[in-house]
């Protein structure tokens, strides 16, 4: 999945975290986080729940000041409002009775932060239609957003984030409440967006498997610490054991990855299924 990386200076990175630590209520929830996201790259932020993924997002969005370290967005230090970031939050709840259509929600992505009433300028409607088409949601444009399915609402929110032409798209656990088919559709859509529009995508998830086909790099978060690199570099027993602070095994079966806590006293093991072996049962990733 990875291409050879040309020598690029740090300024070209869309996002760069360096030595970021965060304390909340007296506890250190993030320790020395460092990774970089380059333009057009598809990066996964993987880790179990509670590891610190949402905190990292809040730091990137400028909602949580880091206790230590630096964050550069588009080469510039954090600001309250970074126009180059498009954000899709995790649990957005749309009341089914709410009188807002999909196109209204997408339109708010363009100018919802500005005062006043949206004017009837033709340009706005076209931009909204274009975005809806980009996420295959044209047929949903005039539907009440609260009545859409989880996957459809997801797409509307992605269009909402995309319409402001961001350079970095941040998605917080977008796959968490989707069934397997919708999950695949969203991943494919995001990969296409990253590729065609050269937008960097940083998506957090607790299961790495749905993202394996499209991910360029990943950042693994566990117990407030991170390791970043390619899948092959990061998803290894010794790396993850160091992060978790306990023995962890990594199993690969049929191209899927399974991370399990290791046996007592044993050092971590990385297993690969031998080609030509008997058909192993399909492994569904654990929470």
């Amino acid at each position: 999945m990875t291409e050879p990386r040309p020598a690029i200076g740090i300024d070209d990175a869309v996002l760069s975290l360096d030595g970021v630590s965060v304390w909340l209520a007296g506890r250190e929830v993030l320790h020395d986080v460092r990774f970089r996201v380059m333009p057009g790259e598809f990066t996964g932020l993987i880790g179990p729940n509670g590891a610190g993924k949402t905190t990292i997002f809040r730091v990137i969005l400028g909602l949580q000041p880091p206790g230590a370290g630096s964050v550069l967005v588009g080469g510039r230090p954090l600001d309250r409002h970074n126009p180059i970031i498009g954000y899709v939050p995790q649990k957005v709840f749309f009341d089914p009775d709410m009188p807002l259509r999909a196109r209204d929600v997408v339109g708010l992505g363009l100018d919802g932060h500005r005062l006043g009433i949206p004017l009837r300028g033709g340009g706005r409607r076209q931009a909204v239609d274009r975005m809806l088409a980009a996420v295959d949601a044209t047929h949903l444009a005039d539907a009440r957003v609260g009545n859409l399915s989880g996957g459809e609402q997801q797409r509307v929110l992605i269009a909402h984030a995309l319409i402001s032409s961001p350079r970095l798209l941040l998605l917080d656990e977008p796959l968490a409440n989707l069934d397997i088919r919708a999950e695949g559709e969203v991943v494919a859509l995001l990969a296409r967006i990253a590729r065609e529009q050269r937008i960097a995508v940083l998506i957090s998830a607790h299961d790495v498997n749905p993202l394996l086909p499209v991910m360029d790099r990943l950042v693994y978060v566990a117990a407030g610490r991170t390791a970043s690199g390619t899948t092959a570099e990061v998803i290894r027993a010794e790396v993850l054991s160091a992060l978790y602070g306990q023995h962890v095994d990594v199993l690969r079966v049929h191209g899927r990855i399974l991370v399990v806590s290791g046996a007592e006293g044993a050092s971590g093991v990385t297993l690969e299924e031998t080609p030509g072996g008997a058909a192993a049962p399909d492994v569904v990733a654990l929470r």
């Binding site: 899709v88 009188p99 932060h113 009440r144 009545n147």
Partner: protein
């Protein structure tokens, strides 16, 4: 009932209905029903204080309403929102009972303050009412987009530099402004009914925000006109009709919407898609397909 005597009432009531319809749309959208009830209700304490001091009641209403809105905002930052609203409300009413105990106020005046009075609109009040009303509409127009954005995705709003807390306080101030003008006709207790009923009803008929606001205004006007007409004839309080008609209109809209939904056959997008928000992680292991 259309004598020159009553003209003021019709004009005032129409203004109240328009404001209530517009502001009410956002009250329902944001789930601010409690605050929309608490602010006018608590402002009653200010009216009692105004009577005690011999000042115009509108002034007392306004000061307490604004104070209530700010108080709710302040307390919300330190605790739950509904707790903040309840505490602000009881504090204002507690002060109201204090002021009331000191003044020699006719119980009838208290009653019409609370529940509305058909016959009591002096011409002098119409212009200030109109001014307040226009101020409300302008404020809503200015806050329109951030209000919508913070209503659906406060996190995204925050990320774009909008402060949801400030927008909420601003909105509550608009509610305070709107409730200040309601006394002559509808009464502090039932103003909020006029804000909620029509707006909640309108949602069943349209999916777009601007038509919903227009419909909300229309329904509010119908309810108020109806209420005044019957109140004039029967002498029963206007508030009774406003409260019950508001609930009735919402109820009938819900029944109508439910019947229309059950008559539709296939699932078209935007209608009956499965709601996956509350799905437990257990579902991940299920076979694919919606």
């Amino acid at each position: 009932m259309f004598s020159s005597f009553m003209v003021n009432t019709w004009i005032a009531a129409s203004m109240v209905a328009v404001i209530a319809g517009v502001v009410g749309f956002f009250v329902v959208l944001r789930g601010s029903a409690f605050a929309a009830h608490a602010i006018p209700h608590g402002s009653f304490g200010g009216a009692a204080g105004a009577v005690l001091l011999g000042v115009n009641t509108i002034l007392g209403l306004g000061i307490f309403a604004v104070g209530g809105a700010l108080g709710i905002g302040w307390l919300s930052r330190r605790g739950r929102h509904d707790v903040a609203t309840a505490l602000a409300l009881v504090l204002m009413l507690g002060l109201g009972s204090l002021f009331l105990s000191f003044s020699v106020e006719y119980a009838g005046a208290v009653y019409s303050l609370l529940f509305g009075e058909v016959l009591g609109v002096p011409s002098d009040d119409l212009l200030p009412m109109a001014g307040l009303g226009i101020a409300c509409i302008l404020a809503i127009a200015v806050l329109y987009r951030p209000l919508l954005l913070t209503s659906i995705t406060p996190e995204v709003a925050e990320a774009r530099g909008v402060r949801p807390g400030r927008i909420e306080t601003g909105f509550l101030l608009v509610v305070a402004l709107a409730s200040t003008m309601t006394v002559p006709v509808v009464g502090v207790l039932l103003m909020f009914s006029l804000m909620i009923g029509p707006a909640a009803t309108a949602r069943s008929f349209t999916s777009s925000p601007l038509p919903a606001i227009a419909l909300s205004v229309a329904i509010a006007l119908i309810i108020v006109w109806f209420g005044i007409a019957i109140a004039y004839v029967t002498n029963y309080p206007v508030g009774f009709f406003v409260g019950t008609l508001g609930a009735l209109s919402y109820g009938s809209a819900r029944v109508w919407a439910a019947r229309r939904r059950s008559r539709r056959v296939g699932a078209s997008p935007g209608d009956d898609g499965p709601r996956l928000q509350l799905t437990a992680p257990l579902l991940r292991a299920a076979p694919p397909g919606r």
